[in-house]
């Protein structure tokens, strides 16, 4: 027994073991290993609240159905996208290349979404969008492996036009930030408002994320329209509501908005928001058994009140469960997986909704009025609102 022979045999054994490991991984992983779910969400910054809510909603959906996907255990990975579009691709690649996730759930900010979208289209990883409403993701750049469970930026405002004209507000001023989400929200508003017979007297915009509204509020006062329609979200929305009321405009000019104007900011805006009318695919006060149960369960689990972002995260979980169950956990069976998710009807707290051909929800839009720190649903603004999916060459 020479030393050289010992070394050679042992090396051969090691190499043999290693190479057999290399040959088997995909087969081994597909059946008995854990499903790798990656969250790419904002955990810091302005949208941190939303990131946490989405993840909470998703986990709740999974745990309600037994904590497994198609019978397989789940391993979670997280990346904080910091709402930074410049690092979108790099962060998405961390989940896809380094952590090798089977599903990428993200994200909130549309700018970051474009980075994820690119990585999703190149790598083929299943991407579920729990919020970002950027149009191209389910229009010209739609992809079989990308599904959205939230909304497209123009969906809420598509339901706004008729609601405004029905109330006699035929001359309106539109105001928003000059960025993609604002432009796309305007697209829906312009389409629905002009179709219903309304006239857009002026279109005002300010650079994102500038929140000095005084100059434009003064402009609005001098124009004297019947109503103002807008798109703002987050801290900026709270400030806009307060500034609008502080300028006394709420007494004479009705304020309408895409629902995000009054989401998560009613405590901060206070009485300034009373009477504001918005359209959105959900409302905390939606009086259905499904929603009531969801809200109770969420509050019990997380000691927090859920919001639309939690619902979107929850629905993402429901969608993934439907898909995973249909393929019995074999997420590599892409054709069957996608087909199952395309044909799914999601029994959501927002109401039942289905997937459009371009993989965006077809859902009812509710008309809500702010009363006493709550978005009270006063009716359905429009049923089964679908994004146009223009330019999508799929299915």
């Amino acid at each position: 027994m020479t030393t050289r022979r010992l070394v050679l045999t042992r090396s051969a054994a090691v190499i043999g073991a290693a190479s057999s490991g290399l040959l088997l991984p995909s087969i081994v992983r597909a059946q008995s290993s854990k499903v790798r779910v990656g969250f790419m969400l904002p955990y810091t910054g302005t949208f941190a609240q939303l990131g946490v809510a989405i993840e909470n909603g998703f986990r709740m959906a999974i745990n309600e159905q037994g904590g497994k996907l198609g019978g397989r255990e789940i391993e979670y990975f997280k990346v904080d996208d910091e709402s930074n579009p410049a690092k979108g691709i790099e962060n998405a690649n961390r989940l896809v290349q380094r952590d090798k996730v089977d599903v990428l759930i993200g994200t909130v900010h549309s700018g970051v979404q474009m980075g994820i979208h690119r990585v999703a289209r190149e790598s083929g990883v299943l991407n579920l969008i729990p919020n970002a409403g950027v149009h191209v993701a389910t229009r010209a750049q739609c992809a079989p492996n990308v599904f959205r469970t939230s909304f497209s930026n123009s969906q809420p405002t598509l339901a706004l036009g008729k609601a405004m004209v029905d109330r006699g507000h035929k001359k309106a001023v539109w105001i928003t930030w000059n960025y993609a989400a604002g432009d796309e929200a305007f697209e829906g508003f312009e389409q629905s408002y002009t179709a219903a017979g309304g006239t857009i007297v002026k279109k005002l915009g300010l650079p994102f994320p500038n929140v000095e509204f005084q100059a434009l509020l003064t402009e609005i006062a001098s124009i004297k329209p019947d109503a103002v329609a807008c798109f703002f979200a987050g801290g900026g929305a709270a400030k806009f509501l307060k500034d609008y009321a502080a300028a006394g405009l709420n007494k004479s000019i009705q304020l309408y908005g895409s629902g995000f104007l009054t989401e998560g900011v009613l405590e901060a805006a206070g009485d300034a928001a009373n009477g504001v009318l918005t359209t959105m695919h959900y409302s905390d006060s939606l009086d259905t058994p499904r929603n009531k149960q969801f809200r109770l369960d969420y509050a019990k689990t997380f000691k927090l009140q859920p919001d639309v972002y939690a619902v979107q995260g929850y629905d993402t979980g429901l969608l993934l469960i439907k898909g995973a169950n249909a393929v019995k956990g074999d997420l590599d069976n892409k054709k069957a997986l996608y087909a199952a998710m395309e044909g799914a009807t999601i029994d959501s707290p927002r109401g039942k909704w289905t997937m459009s051909k371009a993989h965006n929800p077809i859902q009812d839009m509710y008309l809500r009025k702010v009363e006493n720190r709550e978005n009270k649903v006063i009716g359905i603004a429009q049923k089964a609102v679908a994004d146009s999916g223009a330019g999508c060459r799929m299915g």
Binding site: T46, N178, A215, T218, S222, G234, G235, G248
Partner: protein, 287 residues
């Protein structure tokens, strides 16, 4: 735009400009006197806003909250200078940028740990919560006038401090020639601590006073920081008078830019800065 509208827009620019001045004054002092580039200045603004929110909830009075907040900000500024900044006066500007950039992240996380990530509001004090009717459908909140008043008072106070008091004289001497001032017996280390604490407090006061009109939310420091630097650069580094003039200019350009040329409103202020620098590379007023 009719005359009444023009006047109202002028009022809007004045109010915005004065608030910017309060922020920029602190930054220009720190930059001018100690030569430190402080990117974390916006975080002090955010600190002020969150302090206003937390303390008003505690004491039920915004005025008391501001007073207590001032004291806390002074102490915080002093501590920060003693702990960190004093070791960076002689260092390269890049080192200072790295330090203060890191501080931004640290402060954001601390804020998230201490106070969470939600959007909050601070109620305008009852006494000044009315509005003045300007036109038939536009009214102007009295509180905004109060904010402008506070900014003007602070501007005058700062002017008085720098030009008319012994402390101001020592500050100016130390900025002009540190070694000479030291050899004359002026305690430059103490002066620097005072100036830094003052700069931080000015930013915090801006945040506290503006909290009722701006809402309190994560990342609020970032957006004002850029404008702050623009004001300091236009006005001339180290010149408080320059900061005032520049802040009013920026207020004018930003307000009228949004109304008259909305397509390039985002660029208007930077075009102003570029224009000023072309003719006066050191800013409008040299220190």
């Amino acid at each position: 735009m009719d005359f009444a509208n023009f006047l109202i827009q002028l009022l809007n620019s004045l109010q915005y400009g004065l608030l910017l001045f309060m922020l920029a004054a602190g930054l220009t002092l720190i930059f001018g006197i100690m030569g430190v580039v402080n990117l974390a200045h916006g975080s002090f603004y955010m600190l002020g806003a969150y302090l206003a929110w937390a303390l008003t909830a505690q004491f039920n009075s915004l005025t008391l909250a501001i007073v207590v907040g001032c004291v806390l900000a002074l102490a915080f500024g002093w501590l920060l200078e003693w702990l960190l900044f004093r070791h960076f006066y002689q260092r390269d500007h890049l080192d200072q940028v790295l330090l203060t950039f890191g501080l931004i992240y640290i402060f954001e996380e601390l804020r998230s740990i201490l106070w969470g990530d939600d959007v909050h509001s601070v109620a305008v004090p009852e006494a000044v919560s009315q509005s003045i009717q300007l036109t038939e459908n536009l009214s102007y909140p009295v509180y905004r006038l109060v904010v402008s008043g506070v900014c003007i008072a602070l501007a005058l106070g700062l002017y008085g401090l720098i030009s008319k008091t012994r402390l101001g004289m020592k500050i100016r001497a130390g900025a002009f020639n540190r070694e000479m001032a030291e050899s004359l017996g002026i305690n430059i280390r103490l002066i620097h601590g005072v100036v830094f604490a003052l700069g931080v407090t000015l930013a915090a006061i801006a945040g506290m006073v503006a909290a009722p009109i701006s809402s309190v939310y994560p990342g609020m420091g970032g957006s004002v920081l850029i404008m702050c630097f623009v004001v300091v650069v236009i006005g001339g580094i180290g010149s408080v008078r320059g900061a005032l003039v520049a802040a009013l200019l920026v207020g004018l350009v930003d307000t009228f830019g949004k109304v008259l040329v909305p397509q390039i409103a985002g660029m208007a202020v930077y075009m102003l800065m570029a224009g000023v620098l072309l003719y006066k590379p050191e800013g409008l007023f040299k220190q």
